[in-house]
Structure formats: structure tokens, C-alpha cells
């Protein structure tokens, strides 16, 4: 089997080229880690929080070194106050109801405020529970004492405890959070991760397969190969399977790394994530092989990166497509990464199933098929049968 011989050769070449192996397997993890630390937000962030009519016990509970509290009394809307003073958020109280409005321009600040508020509520609840237990214990003692003396006093004692509970109950607030921008799910790394995952796979597979075929062209081995009865399809499928296997291992590594090192929860099926990545790798592979036709040296291949690879990332969903200028939006439909990354986001963040991403996957498959046919055609330049 000639395809098998091709695959064996690709494997041998890859396994002996330690640097390329490192580039393929370690570089993506390095980039993702970098992105993780860059966008995870740092622990020294201080968020400014405006408070209006909030119980002093609550304010004290919220206070920590990451929060600066500004007490405001103006009647203006939370939005206006945040915008005027550039606060990260505003907390206002109306009876039992707390309303938190977050600017959400810096999601790490939003996270700090939310965490602090949750911590404060937990703290207050703890205090309430402690007080309740104490009061109940006193009531119990009272009851026991009364039990010895008369038979109708316990009723009063329990009523006392009930009252006390009701009074303290007012410290358990119901909180409602509003966002000026984005939603509660948006920590930036979460948004970025599925897109980065797709991009990293796309980029490295594109580069490595493209340069591999380019090297075959420039050293003349491709021509020599075509001087045997091998079919052009056998060469391409050898490449596809050979480099595809490495792309699969790369994807597996990236997925496991994000799951176990970053502790990112993948809501959908991991198999679906792998499938999307493999399809994306197939598109990158066939595109890389195709683009290498138009390059006459490795350096020229690198020159295609800003044209072919980089724009993909802008249309992959880092900037929501709907927020792009209208005339620019259709451009995303010719970007393979748009389909890959949006399916990946849907699976990782929303946990959608196979049927929901099927249309996107079919489009990716179509991309790969078109590039494949173009590859077979361009190889005619070397051998016309």
C-alpha cells in the first residue's frame, strides 16, 4: 500500500525532527498558558465599588484589600454614576433587596466584586446562624425551666425564638446583578479558550504541513515521487493521515491540558471537541498544502501567515461577529476558523450536542474537500496524469 508507505515516512520524518515535534506539541501549550495568565486577571486588582443605602454591617463585610468603597447618595441611576466616576460597580439596597450593577469593562474587576459580595453574604449568614443557635439554646433553656414550673409557658418561649429569627432574617438579602456589558458567564479566558484552542491547532497544522510539502517540492522529492506509478490522491491522503495523526495528538494534548491544568469545564462532549479540532486540522492541512504551491521557499510560506492565518482569528468570535460593521460580517463566512471556533465555543461553554454543530461541521468538511480537489489539480503541474 503506497498510502501506508507515505504515512510511515511522514511518521519517521516527524519523529526524527525533534524541534518540529516540540513546536507542534509544546508551543500550543505555552501559548495557551500565556493567554491564561494574561487574561485570568491578577490578584492585586482593586475594584472601586459605589454603595448607596447599604447596611453598614454589609459594607463592613464586603470590605477587603481588593475593594475600595465609595458611599454615594446621589439619586442618579447606577449606570450614570458608574460612567461618571469610572467605578467598577455599584451596589444599592432597597429594603431586603440588593442590586449590583457591574461595568464589566474589566471582567477581572467584576469577578473581584462578585466574589467579595458572595463572601460578605456568606459571612453575614454565618453570623445570623450563630446568633440563631444561641437564641434557640436560650429559648430551650427557658423552656426546660418553664417545663418544670408550669405547663402553658413554653408557648411563649417558642414564640420568642420565632420573633428573634424573623428579626434576624432580614440580614439574608436577595441579590440581583445587572451587567452593563457582557453577561455573568464572561470571564475573558473562558470566551477566549475555545477560540484559541481552534486557532492554535489551525495555525500549527497549517504551518507544519505546508512547509513539509514545500520542502518536498524544493528538494525535488515530490517530482521524484510522481515519477513512480503513485496516484496523486495517494500522496495527498498519505499526508492527510500522517500529519492528521499528529494533529490529533496535538488536539488531545491541548484539550487535556485545558481540562486538567486550567480546570476549564467542558460542558459538552469531549469527543465533539476533538471532532471539531480534527476537522479544523484537516482544513488547515489541506489549506497548508495548497498554499505551499504558491510559495517558493520557507520564507515565502511564512509570509502567508499574516494573510491566511492571522485574519482568521479576528473573525473567529473574539470580537462578536454581530458587533462588526455590516459590510464586514459576511467576510467571516469565508473563514474556516469562524465555523470551527463558534462550534467549539458552543460545545465548551453551552454544552450543545452534535446535531447543533452539524451544519458548521459540514461546512468545515466542505472547505477541506474543496482544498483537497485544488491540491490534486495543482499537482498536475508536476505530472499531467
Amino acid at each position: 500500500m503506497r498510502t501506508l508507505a507515505m504515512i510511515r515516512r511522514v511518521f519517521r520524518e516527524m519523529l526524527r525532527d525533534k524541534r518540529t515535534l516540540a513546536l507542534m506539541f509544546i508551543a500550543p501549550l505555552f501559548i495557551l498558558s500565556l493567554v491564561y495568565f494574561l487574561f485570568q486577571g491578577n490578584t492585586t486588582t482593586t475594584a472601586s465599588l459605589a454603595t448607596r443605602n447599604v447596611d453598614s454591617s454589609m459594607v463592613t463585610a464586603i470590605k477587603n484589600k481588593h475593594i475600595t468603597i465609595h458611599d454615594v447618595s446621589s439619586d442618579k441611576s447606577a449606570k450614570t454614576i458608574i460612567r461618571e466616576h469610572d467605578y467598577a460597580g455599584m451596589l444599592s439596597q432597597n429594603g431586603d433587596k440588593l442590586t449590583l450593577t457591574l461595568a464589566n469593562t474589566d471582567q477581572s474587576k467584576s469577578a473581584v466584586i462578585k466574589q467579595s459580595l458572595q463572601a460578605a453574604q456568606a459571612k453575614l449568614k454565618g453570623q445570623v446562624a450563630a446568633t440563631t443557635i444561641k437564641t434557640q439554646a436560650q429559648a430551650l433553656q427557658k423552656m426546660q425551666a418553664a417545663l418544670g414550673a408550669a405547663t402553658h409557658t413554653p408557648v411563649n418561649a417558642t414564640a420568642d425564638a420565632g420573633n428573634l429569627k424573623a428579626k434576624l432574617g432580614s440580614t439574608s438579602y436577595t441579590t440581583k446583578t445587572h451587567y452593563l456589558y457582557g453577561s455573568k458567564d464572561s470571564t475573558f479566558f473562558n470566551t477566549l479558550l475555545p477560540i484559541m484552542m481552534g486557532f492554535v491547532v489551525f495555525f500549527f497544522v497549517f504551518l507544519i504541513s505546508g512547509i513539509a510539502l514545500l520542502r518536498e517540492r524544493t528538494t525535488g522529492t515530490l517530482y521524484r515521487l510522481l515519477a513512480t506509478p503513485v496516484k496523486r490522491g495517494e500522496i495527498i491522503s498519505g499526508y492527510l493521515c500522517g500529519y492528521g495523526a499528529f494533529a490529533f495528538i496535538q488536539t488531545l494534548l491541548i484539550v487535556l491540558f485545558t481540562m486538567y491544568v486550567f480546570k476549564i469545564q467542558i460542558l459538552g462532549s469531549i469527543w465533539l471537541v476533538l471532532l471539531i479540532n480534527v476537522l479544523l486540522a484537516m482544513v488547515a492541512l489541506t489549506l497548508g498544502l495548497l498554499i505551499s504551491t504558491f510559495a517558493s521557499s520557507e520564507f515565502q510560506m511564512i509570509q502567508f501567515i499574516p494573510i491566511v492565518a492571522i485574519p482568521q482569528i479576528f473573525f473567529a468570535g473574539i470580537i462578536p461577529i454581530s458587533s462588526l460593521p455590516g459590510w464586514l460580517q459576511p467576510v467571516s463566512y469565508i473563514m474556516p476558523l469562524y465555523y470551527g471556533a463558534s462550534s467549539m465555543s458552543a460545545v465548551v461553554q453551552k454544552g450543545v450536542g452534535f446535531m447543533n454543530v452539524l451544519p458548521n461541521l459540514s461546512i468545515l468538511l466542505l472547505f477541506a474537500a474543496v482544498f483537497l480537489v485544488l491540491n490534486l489539480l495543482t499537482m498536475r503541474k508536476y505530472r499531467q496524469v
Binding site: R2, A5, R8, R9, R12, E13, R16, D17, T219, G220, T221, Y223, R224, L225, L226, A227, T228, P229, V230, K231, Y382, R383, Q384, V385
Partner: protein, 246 residues
């Protein structure tokens, strides 16, 4: 005697550019055809056309009774390219095995043929070295071994003796003559006159045209000169004179 290569009224080129014009050639089995001519004369284009890598623009090419281009027929041709098309991170043995498999050889055939092919080019002791550690001459010899590997009926060698020392050249020629005696056909391009003299049939190409063709002895007597080199020079002068008369 069977006809192995037949080229009739061939015109070849890329796009509008014409590289070869009016080429006619008949080679029987057991012949060693030497294609000589200056660089850029169209030798490699003619070789590519005979192998069927290029479709003839005009005219016909028939190899081993099959009109070219024909993919399957490539399995019966052993080819050595002008540049050493080898995988440098693989060993010589892995290169031989890979190209052998591409040629359609079985494991058993490979086991038998690898020692034979490498024996001819004196590479037996370096079979398990990486090609990147090979010298230029060793790479040339490995390329030749790959061409010989499948014991093909037709050998096409593009500049086979470049970078090979005289002693080994002689050994290679001995082997090529032995193969020709067995009935194999050999086509080689060269601009070394010693190689041309060893061929049984010569075709001189200059400016895309065949300026002289025939057996070396016939050519020498036809041009009233003493060597193949002088035939080539004389034929070139005749071509220039003819062109300026037009």
C-alpha cells in the same frame, strides 16, 4: 529487437514558450541512448516528456508500446533525477525502501534488490547512515541505486555521472553495459563527452532542436572528424550558419 522509445514529430513547451521542436527518435531494447547538449537545450524537457510527466504539445511519444503519458507504465521505468531527490532525515535503506514501495515492489523483492542495487554503487557499508551525512557523490550514487532498484526495463538517468569519481564511473558504465546486453534500455543525459562515447546511440540537442543523431561511429565519419566532441562542435557551427542564412 523491440522498439522501446518512439518519439514522432514532437513539439514541447510551457505555455506559449516552445522548448523542443521537431524531435524524432527510435530506440530499441539493448540501446544506450546518450542525449547531449548544453545546459538549457531542452534535454530534461525531452526526458520528462518521454516519462510522461508532460503531455506532448504536438506529436506522439510511445514507450514500451504504450502511448505516453501513462501513470502505470512509470512502474517499468527506473528514474534518476538531475537533483538528488532524497529524504535527508531518513537513512539510505529507508530511502530505498520508500521509493521501492512507491514503485510497487513487495517486501521480498526489496530484500533481494537492495543489496544488488547498492552493490553496484558501492554503498553497502553506508546503508544505515542518514542521507544528511552523505557526501555529494554518495547522494548521486544512492539516487542511481534507487533507479536500478526495481530492475526496470527502461532506465532514464538525468546526468548520472556528475560528482562521481573516475573509478566508480567505470564500474557504473560496466554495469550499464551489462544491463544493455541483457536487453534493458538506457537513456541518459550528459554533457561529459566520455559518457557520450560510451553510448550506442547519440542525440545532440541544441536550442531545442536535434542537430545530429546516430551511432558515435557513424557521426564521426559523417562529419569527417576524430571525436564525438568535434562532431558536437561542428554540428553546432552548422546550425548557426544555417540560422544566419535564413
Amino acid at each position: 529487437m523491440t522498439e522501446v522509445i518512439k518519439v514522432a514529430n514532437l513539439q514541447q513547451g510551457y505555455g506559449k514558450r516552445i522548448i523542443l521542436n521537431d524531435i524524432n527518435l527510435n530506440i530499441n531494447n539493448g540501446d544506450i541512448l546518450g542525449l547531449i547538449g548544453p545546459s538549457g537545450a531542452g534535454k530534461t524537457t525531452l526526458v520528462s516528456t518521454i516519462m510522461g510527466m508532460l503531455k506532448p504539445k504536438q506529436g506522439t511519444v510511445t514507450v514500451l508500446g504504450t502511448p505516453m503519458p501513462n501513470r502505470k507504465l512509470l512502474g517499468r521505468i527506473g528514474y534518476m533525477a538531475q537533483t538528488d531527490a532524497l529524504y535527508s532525515v531518513l537513512t539510505a535503506r529507508e530511502n530505498l525502501t520508500f521509493f521501492g514501495e512507491m514503485q510497487g515492489m513487495s517486501k521480498a523483492e526489496l530484500q533481494k534488490q537492495i543489496p544488488y542495487a547498492t552493490g553496484i554503487v558501492n554503498l553497502n557499508d553506508d546503508l544505515d547512515k542518514y542521507v544528511k551525512d552523505y557526501s555529494g557523490g554518495m547522494k548521486r550514487r544512492l539516487s542511481l541505486a534507487i533507479a536500478l532498484l526495481a530492475d526496470p526495463e527502461l532506465l532514464i538517468l538525468d546526468e548520472p555521472t556528475v560528482g562521481i569519481d573516475p573509478e566508480l564511473r567505470q564500474q557504473i558504465w560496466k554495469e550499464l553495459h551489462r544491463l544493455a546486453d541483457e536487453g534493458k534500455t538506457i537513456l541518459l543525459t550528459t554533457h561529459v563527452m566520455e559518457d557520450a562515447e560510451q553510448s550506442s546511440y547519440l542525440m545532440m540537442i541544441r536550442g531545442g532542436r536535434a542537430i545530429a543523431q546516430g551511432t558515435p561511429d557513424d557521426l564521426i565519419s559523417q562529419y569527417h572528424v576524430n571525436s564525438v566532441e568535434e562532431v558536437f562542435l561542428q554540428a553546432g557551427r552548422d546550425q548557426d550558419a544555417h540560422a544566419s542564412n535564413d
